[in-house]
């Protein structure tokens, strides 16, 4: 284990600070005429392509995602890292909590589906989905609802549901207010809280499109996923409540814990996370 960790470290340090030499930003016209982008780095054709999806309001350049993508590509995998539009064409910046959030979970799942299709269209016979945080949530919903047949495996890091919980600010009151507004047919902005955002201006429908993916609903989603599923969590991730951990363990997913790591696998735990993920990828049939 220790030798493997050192190898990962060397692998990650080599391209440190360097942009991927063979990276290509792919603009993707979506069905609504809007444009999303993803970075595609082709790898060994014999190996499955890996799609890595960022967390809530982030981009593909979020550090955990970037380092993971680099490491995976360096291991010879083709890697696609989309940045969800979140209502902004060719979005390149993380979206602040205080920005207006008209995007929905469904839009994100649709975008993901289009990128999986795009990968399949590139000739990749096997596709592995890796997600981080709400990216894992999005992928889980995708896998449960419209999974492409070429997706052969999913590794979901720090998978957490929406809804009230530790370190999360949304409350039932927010949800109630949103539902009332939605019931009134009003499409006005409401100021809610969601995930780590204390202030989250959004139309009620947009807010609820996330909020409603609660622990219970997500447990149902996990149960419906048919591809091999691995959930990697940090042993120190405070958002991993006991009920959710229980739900995970009750799911078909193999739960793997990186001891001591937080929600973002910061510091040296990043390597532990990679050492956990790499065997899962290489073990992919």
């Amino acid at each position: 284990m220790k030798r493997g960790r050192t190898w990962w470290m060397l692998l990650l340090l080599l391209p440190l600070g360097m942009s991927p030499l063979h990276a290509e930003v792919i603009p993707q016209k979506l069905g609504t005429g809007v444009t999303a982008t993803a970075e595609y780095r082709p790898g060994d054709p014999g190996r499955p392509a890996v799609l890595i999806l960022h967390g809530f309001l982030q981009t593909r350049d979020f550090s955990t995602v970037r380092r993971l993508a680099d490491a995976v590509h360096d291991r010879g995998f083709s890697v696609l890292t989309p940045t969800l539009r979140l209502g902004i064409d060719a979005r390149a910046q993380s979206l602040p909590c205080e920005a207006i959030h008209t995007h929905t979970m469904d839009q994100s799942v649709d975008e993901l589906a289009q990128w999986v299709t795009w990968l399949a269209d590139q000739g990749h016979a096997r596709i592995v989905l890796i997600g981080h945080s709400s990216g894992s949530t999005t992928e889980a919903i995708y896998l449960a609802t419209r999974a492409h047949p070429k997706v052969t495996q999913a590794i979901l890091l720090s998978l957490v549901p929406f809804g009230p919980g530790p370190l999360l600010f949304e409350t039932e009151a927010h949800a109630a207010a949103a539902r009332q507004a939605l019931a009134r047919g009003a499409d006005t902005l409401g100021t809610y809280a969601l995930a780590y955002c204390r202030r989250y201006p959004a139309p009620p429908a947009s807010f609820l499109s996330y909020y409603d993916w609660s622990r219970t609903r997500m447990a149902e989603v996990l149960a419906e996923i048919e591809v091999p599923l691995h959930v990697v969590i940090g042993g120190g991730d405070q958002r991993m409540t006991a009920p959710w951990m229980a739900a995970l363990r009750d799911s078909p997913a193999e739960v793997m814990v990186v001891e001591g790591a937080n929600h973002f696998f910061h510091d040296m735990h990043e390597f532990d996370m990679l050492e956990t993920v790499e065997p899962l990828l290489t073990g992919t049939p």
């Binding site: 809007v34 209502g87 064409d89 390149a92 979206l95 205080e98 920005a99 207006i100 008209t102 201006p201």
Partner: protein
């Protein structure tokens, strides 16, 4: 001749030096300050150029900053989000855009526009145009605020070229500009714009509408202040040094020099040499001290010499004015005192007694007992007469055994008493000790004068002379006072025939006879005029000047005698004795030339000046004695028509310098000079040169004593104007016209 420039004092030189120094410094200071002003102007010009460059750079910087800021906004994802979905734009603009960190301070407003330039929403108080024409930067004066409007395109996504909208910013330009820029030369507080409300200009044109001042240049001001202070300090120092210099020169040089000068002036004015004061006083300048000491030593030496000279003068004066035999005053002292007496009593009523003493039979005593006894008798006579005089009276030995005294404020009784006392003292003296058996007695002639009339004083001498000879007559009292009747008849006869003749002439105008010697003009040989020569006819005998003039001079009778001569010549002129068309030359003594009485008599000759050439002949010796008054009178005589001839040139001083000072028309060569010419050789040539020199100076030359044809020819050749002598004709009466050649 006075010098053109008067010397000025040391203090004045010091003052001039100080003024020049201060003036020079003032000029240098003025030039320095002028250079400082020019440097200030240059620095200010450089500052202005730097400020303009600074302004341009700041403008470029602020424009770039504005554009960067706008581009930052344009590249903001949320901006593109609003362009795509502007439903919530008012909220987003208020809560997101206007609060964004992408906007710097001084942003008054911000707005988004779609690709057609229309604002995303019709908002109130947006403070931005509702529609724009595209990307733009402009400045608009709104009220008193200059606002920058900036509109920057928004592209579809990073690297895209499709303009999907515009972001607009409104900035309060001046505070933003000032705070965003750092100015070293430009004074940002001094901006003044020539823009009116609503005026709009491109950003790059702002430089044409702005005026600004410059920041103070502390270095330049410090330099200028330091320089000005330095100039002031230097001026103060130089002024102080100048004052110090003035005081020092005054204390060290001027005051000591003035002290020395005062001492020297005091010594100059003093009758006797004085010592320099403060000889022991401290003199700060060594050279001055040396001068003072040298002067003091010189003064001491001078004082010694003066004292010695005084002694010698005293001795000399004693010798010159005293008779070595008797110790009494001599004839010279008598002449001096007599002249003084004339001055003292001129115009005053002072009684004067003139006593003339003479020893009876002295010639016989001298011949009988020898000269030594004679001399001893003379000494005793002097002593005894002196004892008889009043205290302060002077006794004069006029010659031989003749003594005289002048008694002032002395009337006849006192004079008589003095005369008696003197005669008595002589008579009681025992001369037998000298072996003289005969009695030795004095005869005393006394004359008195009670007024200040100069003529009366002049007469005292001969009056006393007559009285004295009366006293010598056998049977007469030995003391005789002159009386008017003493000149009458046989009483006029005195022991001296010549003197008697002279006195006759003077008292009675009898016996004088004028003879005339012709003077011919060498050019024509014709008689030009005659020289009047006096003769006295006495006792059927014709006395020549050689015999009576010594008596006249000895008795100081020149003025009286000349007056008689003038009367005689005038009478001859009136009587037609002298041929008309000729002229007459009259000899005047020196005393007569300066005598107003003689001058008055010359007036009478004016009636003849048309018919006769009138010549006054004076000797140079007579002129030189009283040159000033003689010159004045001779000028008056010339005004009356007289020609002035200098007689006997060559017998006296013969100074050509004196000749230049005298009012002389004719120079008459003395016989001795003519004799030199007669001798020939070098002496003749010298005389000829002198004659030529005088002739060329404008004088007429007359030669006297011409006794041969050869001499006459030589003086003609030498340029002489006229000649006289026995060759031409002797003095005759009546005058005879002669012609030579």
């Amino acid at each position: 001749m006075k010098p053109l420039l008067r010397p000025i004092s040391l203090s004045a030189y010091a003052g001039i030096y100080i003024v020049l120094t201060l003036g020079l410094f003032a000029l240098l200071g003025w030039l320095t300050l002028g250079q400082l002003d020019r440097a200030d102007r240059d620095i200010r010009q450089l500052q202005l150029e730097a400020a303009e460059a600074e302004f341009d750079a700041a403008m470029a910087g602020i424009a770039n900053q504005a554009r960067t800021e706008a581009r930052g906004l344009a590249q903001w994802d949320e901006v593109r989000q609003q362009l795509a979905e502007p439903t919530y734009y008012p909220y987003w603009r208020g809560y997101r855009m206007l609060r964004s960190d992408l906007l710097s301070g001084h942003t008054l407003a911000a707005h988004l526009y779609n690709a057609q330039g229309r604002g995303l929403a019709m908002l109130e108080n947006v403070q931005m145009p509702r529609k724009i024409e595209g990307a733009d930067q402009r400045l608009v004066m709104e009220g008193s605020t200059l606002n920058l409007y900036l509109f920057e395109p928004i592209y579809g996504f990073a690297g895209g070229e499709e303009v999907i909208g515009y972001v607009g910013l409104k900035k309060d330009f001046i505070p933003w500009f000032v705070q965003s820029s750092r100015f070293h030369y430009l004074d940002e507080e001094s901006f003044v714009f020539d823009l009116g409300d609503g005026d709009t200009i491109p950003v790059e044109a702002l430089g044409e509408h702005v005026a600004f001042g410059l920041r103070a240049n502390p270095q330049a001001e410090v330099v200028r202040e330091v320089m000005e202070k330095a100039v002031v300090r230097l001026a103060f120092t130089i002024s102080l040094l100048a004052i110090l210099f003035y005081v020092m020169q005054a204390l060290l040089l001027a005051v000591p020099l003035r002290g020395l000068t005062r001492d020297i002036d005091r010594m100059k004015d003093a009758a006797r040499p004085l010592r320099i004061r403060g000889n022991d006083r401290f003199m700060p300048i060594a050279e001055l001290d040396k001068v003072r000491r040298s002067l003091s030593e010189y003064q001491e030496k001078l004082s010694e010499v003066h004292t010695d000279l005084d002694e010698k003068n005293k001795t000399l004066w004693q010798m010159a004015h005293h008779d070595p035999l008797t110790g009494a005053y001599n004839r010279r002292a008598f002449d001096v005192d007599w002249a003084k007496l004339n001055d003292v009593i001129s115009g005053r009523r002072i009684d004067v007694a003139f006593l003339l003493f003479d020893c009876n039979h002295f010639k016989a005593i001298n011949d009988t007992y020898g000269h030594q006894v004679g001399d001893e008798v003379i000494r005793i006579l002097a002593r005894r007469i002196n004892e008889g005089l009043r205290h302060g009276d002077r006794l004069y030995r006029l010659g031989g055994d003749e003594f005289a005294t002048l008694l002032l404020n002395c009337g006849e009784p006192d004079a008589h008493m003095v005369a008696e006392r003197c005669a008595e003292l002589v008579s009681i003296h025992d001369f037998s000790e000298l072996g003289i058996k005969e009695p030795v007695r004095l005869s005393v002639g006394v004359s008195l004068s009670g007024g200040g009339d100069a003529g009366a004083l002049d007469a005292l001498h001969w009056q006393a002379d007559i009285a004295m000879y009366r006293a010598k007559r056998p049977g007469s009292p030995s003391i005789q006072f002159y009386r008017e009747d003493m000149g009458d008849g046989a009483d006029a006869l005195v022991s001296n025939q010549v003197a008697s003749a002279v006195y006759d002439v003077l008292r009675h105008n009898q016996g004088i006879e004028m003879h005339y010697q012709p003077v011919v003009r060498t050019a024509t040989g014709e008689t030009e005029y005659f020289e009047a020569l006096a003769r006295i006819v006495h006792a059927d005998e014709l006395l020549m000047p050689g015999s009576f003039l010594p008596v006249v001079e000895a008795r100081r009778l020149e003025v009286e005698f000349d007056a008689v001569v003038l009367e005689a010549v005038l009478a001859d002129l009136d009587a037609g004795v002298i041929p008309e068309g000729t002229g007459v030359a009259i000899n005047l003594s020196g005393h007569s030339v300066v005598s107003p009485r003689v001058l008055d008599r010359l007036e009478a000759f004016c009636r003849h000046r048309d018919a006769y050439k009138l010549v006054l002949e004076v000797t140079e010796t007579a002129l030189i004695r009283q040159l000033e008054s003689a010159t004045r009178n001779l000028h008056l005589a010339r005004d009356q028509g007289f020609v002035v001839a200098l007689d006997d040139f060559g017998s006296g001083y013969s100074s050509l310098r004196y000749l230049g000072d005298m009012p002389v028309d004719v120079v008459k060569f003395d016989v001795t000079m003519i004799e030199q010419m007669a001798r020939g050789g070098e002496r003749r040539r010298m005389m000829e040169r002198i004659a030529r020199l005088i002739t060329e100076a404008g004088y007429q030359l007359v030669a006297e004593g011409i006794e041969s044809e050869a001499v006459y020819a030589s003086i003609r050749a030498a340029g002489f104007h006229a000649a006289q002598g026995y060759l031409i004709g002797p003095p005759t009466r009546p005058p005879e016209r002669r012609r030579v050649g």
